[in-house]
């Protein structure tokens, strides 16, 4: 494995080390729950043991008798909280299910909050809360008798907004070669190492919330609505986030409960929820199903593409990712038809999880591409080439598309030409070897951002924006960009993020942060440069040099501070005003005038033991093109982490559900599997140079959610190549290969 950051090529920034690296590895970085507050009370959540029904009786006597217990909040105590409308993506609450009962709508719903002088006392008391339920039979997932599939009218209404071109059914009927396959992906949970925490601190009517967040302005405004107070009374602070992956984008029910508890007690309250609670008090990636039908000519050109998806969601909330929007654009299909159906069950509401639409939908597409290649007797790479096109079926053009450059570079590095096509034909002793590949894709979203930049005569730069570095590298790329734009050394730049006291930034979602914040930053820096150049060339008796100090002296000011707003092309004029109110607006991807995507190609080798069938991935190579690469080190890190997650998603991760009770079973890190070091061997990231001046002013396409797309298909395609067994339901488990 190449361990160094890739050498920058055309349109790539230098691999400067992480701005926050030292603080993080030395423990100096204060995550929200690390912030010390004076004499806090500790909260422990009590969650429901049933998925559907009612609380008949809640006996608190034993819990209240635990020494140190201060208060126990139940449904009665929280009636004053206002309901906030569900909205995906940070604009609203993560779920409509906000009450503490007595009605129970999903497993693990919060039903009480125990407050005590110590965490230990709160936990002990929580275990002693005795609840009697009247349980009803819940619908756990697809195929449950009382799950509700949307009506044809609802499905038809959604389909109006989904891609359609030509007569796909007719094209399919007359195609020379066809495939018709169904795929399924499981529920998965984010499982960031940092748990869901909230610390609430009132000072008079002013409330400060320390909580890991991907959108502090969203949390501030939604919380104000829930508490029925003015948003200006609330400050949300979240400078570091210990992993989020979509789970910390929206307001979850806990925040208002902790704020309310702190107000009742007249004392700061701190909550650190448990790992098993994390499975039910926030969101997750819901299970999906797919049917893909494709028709092609003998030469490989795909004339018909029909992609139907089914997505699971909660009873009240119509959460949908509808990734047919992306799968239908990937190649120059002749005719296209798409449809997405939601199925409502008694579950907590799902939500965004790294690359929400494309992970399941591109997995299905790229599996189907491999099946079609096999049917045609074509090399899978050549099938992609045959259908590579600068236009999609609807006629929309790509702003830039370097897919085949990615395939060619990755294939060369991988040694793809040594592959023998017949399944089971490559073997090393007792191990069957399989090679597979797939496309990675992520829409390039656009969003607004504000920023404030200050420059002093000494050349110190401070960048302030309520954007979020959730481990992605935003601190670093903003520092680099500011240093470049203002011509100062990198170590003179200080970046402050994640605080609603700063100008608003966009939600850390949709891989949009670098482009949005970077574009605003470039604007602010240009304004500063302009003010510097406006300095008189000389003043009587003053310095005449070009040193920054001299220029400031001639200007007669102590510092320059510029506030700038960036609204992407086609964005609404009130986009920044909306951002202040916690409403993010994301455009781009397939929704603008042009199709804008970051793309890649991933190649994997799998080894399957001939007898016992355990599956290992000794190497993976990915090549990616994403416009301007700001920093090859942080970019590689994001993409490498993404590919590792892709391996995890294919082989390990699945939230198992007890179908009788609609309850999650493996809600801990020992039973919810993800790869350990021994599972990840050789990971190679190739950055393919690409220029795209149309996407945004800095020419960068978001790549945080690119690396984990397509990986699952590359692996199942490789498993088929190794064994001849086509896995159409993730995760790949060895029992599916025992045959």
């Amino acid at each position: 494995m190449a361990r160094a950051a890739p050498k920058p090529q055309a349109n790539m920034g230098p691999p400067v080390p992480r701005y926050d690296g030292r603080a993080k590895v030395t423990g100096d970085a204060r995550y929200p729950s690390d912030v010390p507050v004076a004499s806090p009370a500790f909260a422990f959540l009590v969650t429901s043991a049933i998925a559907k029904g009612r609380i008949v009786r809640m006996d608190l006597a034993a819990a209240q008798a635990v020494p140190g217990v201060l208060d126990i909040l139940t449904a009665e105590d929280t009636r004053e909280l206002k309901h906030v409308k569900f909205a995906a993506g940070g604009a609203g609450a993560s779920t409509s299910i906000q009450g503490l009962g007595p009605d129970i709508d999903h497993d693990g719903q919060i039903v009480a909050v125990v407050l005590a002088d110590s965490f230990e006392a709160a936990r002990e008391a929580a275990h002693k809360v005795d609840i009697t339920y009247a349980a009803e039979e819940p619908a756990a997932t697809f195929d449950a008798t009382n799950a509700r599939e949307e009506s044809p009218e609802e499905v038809g209404e959604r389909a109006k907004k989904l891609p359609k071109a030509g007569d796909a059914a007719a094209a399919l009927a007359s195609a020379e070669v066809t495939i018709d396959a169904q795929y399924a992906t499981p529920a998965q949970h984010h499982n960031a190492i940092e748990l869901f925490t909230t610390t609430a601190l009132w000072s008079g009517d002013e409330l400060t919330i320390y909580e890991p967040s991907q959108f502090v302005f969203g949390l501030k405004n939604n919380l104000a609505e829930r508490l029925g107070i003015d948003a200006e009374q609330i400050r949300v602070v979240s400078p570091y986030v210990g992993g989020a992956f979509g789970s910390k984008a929206q307001m979850t029910p806990r925040t208002a409960l902790i704020a309310l508890a702190a107000r009742r007690l007249g004392r700061p309250v701190k909550l650190v929820s448990t790992r098993d609670q994390a499975f039910t008090i926030s969101t997750y990636r819901a299970e999906t199903r797919h049917r893909i039908r494709m028709g092609a000519r003998r030469d490989g050109r795909i004339t018909a593409f029909i992609h139907e998806g089914w997505e699971l969601t909660s009873r009240p909330d119509p959460y949908s990712v509808a990734g047919v929007e992306d799968s239908a654009r990937m190649y120059g299909f002749g005719a296209v038809e798409t449809r997405v159906t939601l199925v409502h069950a008694d579950r907590n509401t799902p939500g965004f999880m790294r690359s929400p639409p494309v992970v399941p939908y591109i997995y299905a597409l790229e599996s189907a591409m491999d099946e079609l290649a096999l049917e045609l007797g074509m090399d899978p790479v050549e099938l992609r080439r045959a259908n590579n096109s600068m236009r999609d079926a609807t006629g929309k053009e790509w702003s830039s598309r370097s897919l085949m450059e990615c395939y060619d570079e990755a294939a060369a590095a991988f040694g793809w030409k040594e592959r023998t096509a017949r399944p089971g034909s490559m073997r090393d002793g007792d191990w069957l070897i399989g090679w597979g590949c797939a496309t990675a894709a992520y829409p390039t979203h656009l969003g607004p951002s504000a920023v404030r930049v200050r420059l002093t005569p000494a050349g110190e730069v401070r960048v302030q924006v309520a954007a979020h570095d959730i481990g992605t590298g935003l601190y670093t790329v903003l520092a680099q960009l500011a240093a470049d734009e203002l011509g100062v050394p990198l170590d003179m730049v200080r970046v402050e993020l994640g605080d609603t006291a700063l100008p608003p930034g966009i939600v850390a979602g949709g891989s949009v942060s670098t482009a949005a914040t970077g574009s605003a930053l470039v604007k602010a820096c240009a304004a500063i440069r302009e003010r510097l150049t406006a300095a008189p060339a000389q003043t009587t008796g003053g310095p005449s040099g070009n040193k920054l100090e001299d220029v400031f002296e001639r200007l007669g000011i102590g510092a320059i501070e510029e506030y700038a707003e960036f609204i992407p092309e086609g964005g609404k004029p009130d986009a920044i005003a909306s951002l202040y109110k916690g409403k993010p607006a994301l455009g781009g991807g397939s929704h603008g005038e042009k199709l804008m995507y970051a793309l890649g190609a991933e190649f994997v080798e799998v080894r399957v033991h001939a007898l016992t069938r355990e599956i290992r991935v000794p190497r993976i190579v990915g090549a990616f093109a994403a416009g301007r690469i700001m920093n090859t080190r942080t970019a590689r890190s994001q993409l490498m982490g993404g590919m590792i997650w892709g391996i995890s998603s294919a082989l390990h991760e699945a939230t198992e559900i007890d179908r009788r009770h609609a309850r999650y079973i493996n809600d801990n890190l020992a039973d919810y599997l993800m790869p350990v070091n021994a599972d990840i061997r050789d990971v190679e990231v190739i950055l393919v140079p690409e220029e795209d001046s149309e996407v945004n002013p800095i020419g960068a396409k978001g790549l945080g959610e690119l690396g984990n797309v397509g990986t699952a298909a590359a692996i199942t395609n490789a498993v088929h190549h190794a064994t001849g067994v086509r896995i159409r339901e993730l995760p790949v488990r060895l029992e599916k290969l025992l045959g």
Binding site: E120, E124, T612, H652, I657, I665, D671, N677, A678, D679
Partner: protein, 342 residues
Amino acid sequence: MRPFHYERAATPAAAVKMAGTTPMSPDQPSVATPVQYLAGGTNLLDMMKIDVMRPDRVVDINAIAETRHGGIEVSDDGMWLGALARMAEVAEHADVKHRFPVIAQSLTLAASQQLRNMASIGGNVLQRTRCPYYRDTSYAECNKRDPGSGCAALGGFNRMHAVLGTSKACIATYPGDFAQALIALDARVEITGAHGHRSMAFAELHRRPDDEPHMETRLAPGELITAFTIAALPWARRSKYLKIRDRESYEFALASAAVALDMDGDIVREARIALGGVATVPWRASAAEHEIQGKRLDERALAAAAEAAFADARVFEHNAFKIALGKRTLTRALRETAAMET
């Protein structure tokens, strides 16, 4: 976690005496024993945090590691392992690796390095099942926790559950690895209790669930494991632990086999087979041993052994694959053990 009294003991005798001051009923579920010994704490503390175990008293026995009972003694006759020796110490011991490879391998393939550094081998053999219904007190049905309450795993998600030694009352899998190696080498376990010292064949230590899954072992309340003894039997050197699992490390077995063979040329003179990941207790596959004893290890003998090992298996909704996987695991382990150079 609930409040408890914490005490320390520096010798096995002191520990047993300390524990003996609380009256304990022999019929009490093992998980509910009011006095618990604390060694590495890698299992006990977890179980207390999730409220499955609520001991009144915890007797910390780590100081015993300073005595002989924290040591490893290897001679030409065999090996004596103090119960307070840490998993990592045994796994990394040169003589253990060389003379009793199945012991070292079973420990190395278990848990993570951090856990192996902490966990004692005496505590390891008593590790409690990972059955998710046992570990979550919000499920009322669990005969191990609450005798007579039922078994939620029977009709629930049971991919990881046992296919051998199950009963209508419990199908929870014994989760450990080291125990299978001890069975393959005919180990004995030394025990100290209120009535003095005793020892028994290690294979007798664990009880099958039958009608009383809450009675997990044959240890009386307050008894303490002090050591394991392993004779230098002819098949100890040609021994191996094969563990098949969903990921490469830090994961419980879907199926495992501890195999020890005494070969006379290509004829099996004596065989020991223990299976893990598939049974409710550390499982000796005597019928499989019988199929290969005195025979050449050809495909027919291997197939017969695999068949015999799983002849009595009973499967549930999600774990039917464990029969095929268990058979293949055993076949592979036998082949690889026979091919070892000793």
